[in-house]
């Protein structure tokens, strides 16, 4: 249902990128630092204007849509997200209802949506805690709940597991899985190859602003080594969980 196409000339940060994501699908973007992953996500979110090509949601081009209309279709979680003021976790999730709430104040429906979203990403117990005092992993899951509460068909995440310890990274991966199982399309940029292998069935690899590989994640990873400047050893645990180890 989501057809995305990108072009971004001039700067030559990204060149003629074509990518398509369907509902309920998780796609990860791989690539070295500076390969253009964040730029690609910002283009998809409509935060940057492409110098060429376009982004389509369904059959509708993103360009020219007002922000509120975009935010009803796409949720975007930037890499860094801290609040200056001490909002509680629940208040942060409720901000996801910005384009959904009918009044200045969120109603009972918004509250139940927000709480369900927090339950899905396993942060309901944190709802009264100040967002800024949560750990990095908890914050990311609260933000994922915010994106869920925004109730968009597509969620974009920029390096959702950057800086997280293994336990929190795994918890986030599981939360991504839950989100996907609800029919949301996910597009996330990551350096975490194991997260990609385990939680994203499909991957796209950017190299120097070009889309070099695209397809099932394990196939992409099998050829990704040289493009990431490493050798990759791929395998599966006895339980069937795939892994990727640089060697």
């Amino acid at each position: 249902m989501d057809r995305l196409e990108f072009g971004y000339g001039g700067h030559r940060v990204l060149r003629s990128i074509a990518l398509q994501i369907s509902a309920g699908e998780a796609v990860c973007i791989l690539g070295e630092n500076g390969a253009g992953k964040s730029t690609l996500l910002k283009l998809c979110a409509g935060l940057l204007k492409p110098t060429g090509g376009r982004v389509l949601i369904g059959a509708e081009p993103l360009a020219g849509l007002p922000r509120a209309a975009v935010a009803q279709k796409i949720a975007y979680l930037p890499q860094e997200c801290t609040h200056v003021f001490p909002f509680s976790a629940l208040e942060v999730v409720l901000m996801g209802r910005y384009v959904r709430a009918r009044n200045q104040f969120e109603g009972a429906e918004d509250l139940s949506v927000a709480e369900a979203a927090m339950a899905a990403t396993d942060v309901l117990a944190l709802r009264e805690r100040p967002f800024n005092q949560l750990s990095g992993g908890e914050r990311r899951r609260v933000l994922l709940a915010q994106a869920l509460a925004q109730d968009t068909p597509l969620i974009l995440l920029d390096e959702p597991t950057a800086g997280l310890d293994p336990a929190h990274a795994l918890a986030l991966g599981r939360a991504l899985d839950v989100v996907c199982s609800r029919g949301k399309a996910l597009l996330f940029a990551t350096h975490d190859l194991n997260l990609a292998a385990r939680f994203a069935p499909r991957a796209a690899l950017l190299h120097q602003g070009e889309l070099r590989l695209s397809g099932p994640t394990l196939d992409v990873l099998a050829e990704a080594g040289p493009l990431l400047g490493i050798q990759l050893h791929l395998g599966r645990l006895p339980s069937g969980i795939p892994f990727a180890v640089p060697t």
Binding site: C81, T82, H83, S88, L90, Y98, Q104, F105
Partner: protein
């Protein structure tokens, strides 16, 4: 027993808190005119059936105390609201009309108007009068805001850079004011120095009105943007992702906040610390939600400045202290305390 409402920003809580603040303001507004630099039996004057011309106490009440109280309320509401707006926009809890240099830009405009004698300039047969002062103050404020805004739009400047730019502009404004003072004659110097003290003395209804209209317009522009300001607390990209028209919203808020400051400074001179003291105190009590913070800051800012101004008239009676002196004396220690207390700071910002 029903569980407590988990949303700090629930509608019911909003109504309750805003009504409490409004009640506080009404009490303050009712009590303040009873006190002033002279001792008057105001209650007796009110019940006196004598005509206005023969009732000096009533005349003082009507033509001196009430306009002064209303002016203080408007100035307090405007400055506190502008403080909230600037703090949210720049994602900086230390931002306020003064730290951003808006007040000093405004002051420079007004001081220049006094020095150049613009008040006596005749336009179609009438002298410009205080309108010249207000106009120049507004131009000064908008010029500084335009500069700060330009730096912000250029993107090179983070919140800290903007604040530093504001402080630099404030210092430069101060230096230019000193330069103007150096060239001024005795009478002008006296007026400029008095004006800079931040004073609500000699308030007339036309001056009150000149402050009321812009402040009312500014508040009407600010309040509907409260949710945008909440979202902007996480930065422009995150806010845009939530559906906020970031550029439009920030522009409106910038202009509204500067309008507030310019209107207040033009009439009352620079009165410091209201924009820091009131919002931070309220954040400690009711939390950071701007939907609550904006209206309560306006109401409590008004109550605060009216109280300060009344104290300023009473403490050294019959001498009247400029209210700016008093707000600085209360505000500065409060703020230092805030900066030193890690516990308080954690509850206000990160």
């Amino acid at each position: 027993m029903s569980p407590p409402n988990p949303i700090r920003s629930g509608r019911l809580r909003f109504v309750r808190i805003v009504l409490s603040c409004a009640a506080l303001l009404i009490v303050v507004l009712g009590v303040a005119p009873l006190f002033g630099s002279s001792q008057l039996d105001v209650l007796h004057a009110l019940w006196d059936k004598a005509p206005l011309a023969e009732n000096p106490a009533l005349r003082v009440l009507l033509y001196s105390r009430i306009p002064r109280v209303v002016a203080a309320a408007l100035a307090g509401a405007g400055l506190a609201s502008a403080g909230v707006a600037f703090q949210a926009l720049l994602r900086n809890p230390l931002a306020d009309p003064f730290t951003l240099g808006v007040s000093s830009g405004s002051s420079l405009g007004a001081v220049l108007a006094i020095r150049l004698g613009l008040e006596t300039v005749m336009v179609s047969g009438h002298p410009l009068g205080e309108l010249a002062l207000s106009g120049c103050a507004l131009i000064g404020a908008l010029a500084v805001v335009a500069l700060v805004f330009f730096l912000g739009e250029k993107g090179a400047a983070g919140p800290t850079t903007l604040l530093l730019a504001g402080v630099t502009l404030a210092l430069m404004g101060g230096a230019l004011i000193t330069a103007v003072l150096y060239t001024a004659d005795f009478a002008e110097t006296y007026r400029i120095v008095r004006w800079q003290m931040g004073d609500l003395d000699v308030m007339r209804y036309d001056l009150v009105l000149r402050m009321a209209i812009p402040v009312a317009i500014a508040l009407a522009l600010l309040w509907p943007r409260a949710r945008d300001l909440n979202a902007l607390s996480a930065g422009p990209d995150a806010a845009a992702g939530l559906g906020v028209e970031v550029q439009r919203s920030t522009r409106i808020v910038y202009i509204a906040a500067s309008l507030c400051v310019a209107a207040v400074v033009a009439v009352a001179g620079p009165i410091g610390f209201v924009g820091l003291l009131v919002p931070h105190t309220l954040r400690l009590i009711i939390g950071p939600d701007h939907r609550l913070l904006l209206p309560t800051s306006a109401l409590c800012g008004a109550a605060f400045l009216v109280t300060c101004d009344t104290l300023a008239q009473v403490v050294f009676r019959p001498a009247v202290l400029p209210v700016g002196v008093l707000t600085a004396c209360i505000g500065a220690p409060f703020f230092v305390g805030l900066l030193l207390s890690r516990g308080l700071r954690a509850r206000l910002w990160s």
